[in-house]
Amino acid sequence: MESIEGALRILLIDDNRDHTKILQWAFRKTGRQDEFTCFDDGSSALEYLRTLEREQKAKPDLIFLDLNLPRLDGRELLRLLKEEQATKAIPVFIVSSSERDEDVRKAYELGASNYVSKSAILNDVDPLMKTIQAYRSKAT
């Protein structure tokens, strides 16, 4: 964990507030100081990101995105994020309780950086941490 430099600003989009809570706890439990911003629907999250762009504020380092979302579905949101110039550079990790192959494949096709199983993260957050680390070191 120490190898991750500083806290990350993570945008967490999931309609299951229990899961957002548990996930944040799982991160905190490891002693990290990451800053989570949570949305429970796709369109609010998108609106938030566009506002950040308009106001030229710092964008999140990472987006955790659930697939099943009300109003704007996770897949559609992912497509928009990867289309828009402002957001296409932000890595998106799909965090889903679905382990369906077609969901996984679709997510990667749309430009997701990673696909993690919710229940797996809850059991052990370490592998996710390693993935994030690997990804960031590659990006920089």
Partner: protein, 832 residues
Amino acid sequence: MTNATPTYRRRARVRGDEKPKAKNHLKGVKKRKGIEQPVDVFESAFEKSFVPLLITDRFGRCMAANESAARLLNRRRAVLVRKTLDAIFTLHGSTTVGGFQARLSQEESLDAEVAFEQKKGTTVRVRLRSNNLDSGLRLISFARMHEQGSQEEQPVKARGTAALLDEFFSLPWGDEATDYHSLFQHSPYGICILQNDRLAVVNPTFCRLLGYRSGEDVAGKEIREFLDQGSRMFFSLLQHRVFRGETIPMRFEIRMIRHGGATIDVETSFALIWYRGAPALNLTISDITDRKELEKRLTDSESLLRNVINSMVDALVITDLQGKVLDVNDEFQRFTGFTRREAFAAEIPYPWVPEESLRSFMSWLEKLREHNVLRDFDITWLRKSGERVSVSLNTTLLRNAAGDPVLMVNIARDISERQASREELSRQLQRLQVLYDLSRALTETLNTDDIVRTTYQQIEKVIPVDGFVIDLYDEEKSEIRRAYAVDLVNGIRAEIEVPHGPISLDKSFTTAEVISTRKPLLQLKPSSDQHVPLHPDAIDSQKASLMMVPMVSKQKTIGVLSVHSYESEMYSQEHLTLLQSIAHLAGIAIEKAQLYQETIRKSLEIEARNKELDDFTYVVSHDLKEPLISVEGYAKMIRHEYQQLFDAGGREYLQAVVDSCSHMKRLIDDLLLLSRISKLREKRSKIKLAGLISDVLEELRFSIRERKAEVIVQEVLPEIVAVDTHLRIVFRNLIANALKFCDKAIPRIEIGSRVTPDFTTLFVRDNGIGIEKAHFEKIFLIFQRLHRKDEYEGVGAGLTIVKKIVESHGGQIWIESTVGQGATFVFTIPTG
């Protein structure tokens, strides 16, 4: 004397210059003496006399000789004439000295023995007598001297012509001492002498021919008694003419009556003779029954030939090379309409050959000269009525004895019927072709639209149609739907748009009737019944000829196929039969297409239902998993953050919550896996079984080590085609099971395979607790447990997943086991 030449021939041979002279002199005799008999009597008597006779002038020069004289002297009559008696005979004995001439001129009558050389070295002695005829001519008779000289013929004593005739021209038939008698007796001809119309003398042959035993039975009877009624008149006429000296036929046929009444056909000839001082008829008869029979047969065979020619079914005409008719048979007259007379009188050659055929007919005749016989020439003939008919001509050229062609026999056969049947045959062939094409085209499609179109296109080729309709019938719904329709639109046949929904039965009364009765309908005239619409789509139903046939397959009515025309009487029973055959084929094809579409629909339905089920399983699993994740997450949070708040019991309960969550997660994961196996047809690949199994054993190494298990893997394992991840699940589950359900200190697991062309059989054998046979099936059911949860852990979906994987590969799985002695799980995967 053996020569039996019939009288008429003898007479016929009296030719040459001697005859007229003799005749003239005899005429002279007649004049002088006023003899009542015609000239020919003398001529005939002289000629026919069996006594050798010569007539000389007073100087002994021969003027005439009769047949008998020529024969005895063995010289031709022409040679005898003008020879003197001295040159013919030599005097024998001493009665007379000096030449004949001297003695003839001097003596009233001469009676001398003379001799002549008959043949070289054969001298015949004859007694010769001379009598003076009134004209100064001499009649010389002579007779052979008998060897013994005992019976010399008497010298002629009578005087005058009548006496002489009696003396020399009588036939000595009855005189048994003469050669003539023998001839008479043995002649194969029947001979009789008629005098005063009565039979004076008859020979045995005559008796035999008429069926009598001897001459005495008939002698003295009238000839009339022996003549058939039909011959009497004719006979009398001829007899009369003979006596008048007129010419009569040398021979003629009469019918005589035999003893007992039977008749006999004879050929007869007459000769007028002098018999016992009076004129008589020498009648010769010969049996011509055989000849008559032959003639009859000949006539019969001629008429037979004529009959044959006339009874020929072919027309026969015989012409010369210029085309002039020589003969025709009855069939020719019937067939061409030209009578025999008209054919004979035809002014132009071959009037039955029409102008347009004349050229080819002539070139046909040209070939005839080379080949003599030509066969099967198809040509058109012209009847008298002007009608043209097709004939097949056979022509034979007949040549005369010199080999020159003289006439032609043409035999013509009416082939208009043959041509009609040829056309009929080709029509039938076309129909067969249509049925064949249709059946072939129909096997190539399972699309109802294509089927009805193809059906229409084939029907159009063989049945005259203005309109065509196919209605399909849905038995279950009792609905008629129009599949296809063609009709006249502005006089042109065109496809008509069909209504989408079912057709009202009121409007298609006839269609409904055909469906319910399953009987075809054939209507040839406009329907007079206004209440029954002939055809729902007919522009003017009053005009249509209509055929409607049901399309029936097995016991199901598929629909109705109908064709119509706006002209009456367009369809025959034959058309109907053909349409039925077509409807039958179309019916089968449509049913097949419907079955196919039904099958497709059902399998799509099943697929959709399966997908629904899988989606349901997925959604349920997923939705179950979401709150579970929360429960588990919160339980872990509580355990981590609030540990100090719980006593040992609370902590144990909390741990139970977490464990239950994991168990439920595994259950859900298995369910998800199951739903995924059925849903995804994942790519199969060639898998090296040895590598796959060692990977699985590596994954399970902790369990294996923990149980101190012995795993024996067959040394050589094949490659198999399967879904890699799934096959791993199968082996992982089976090996884990084998490790799990074992009560032995050292579990032993054997893994092996056997390959056959069709299947690769794989097995995992253990020495565990075994399974009761009753449970062989049960253990594959989902969430079935044979043991209490605390005995053997697990969720109970493993074997269900294994079974599903094996079956999704097209294989089978089963168990071989005895309780307490382990179990073998055997499964197959199709090879290749």
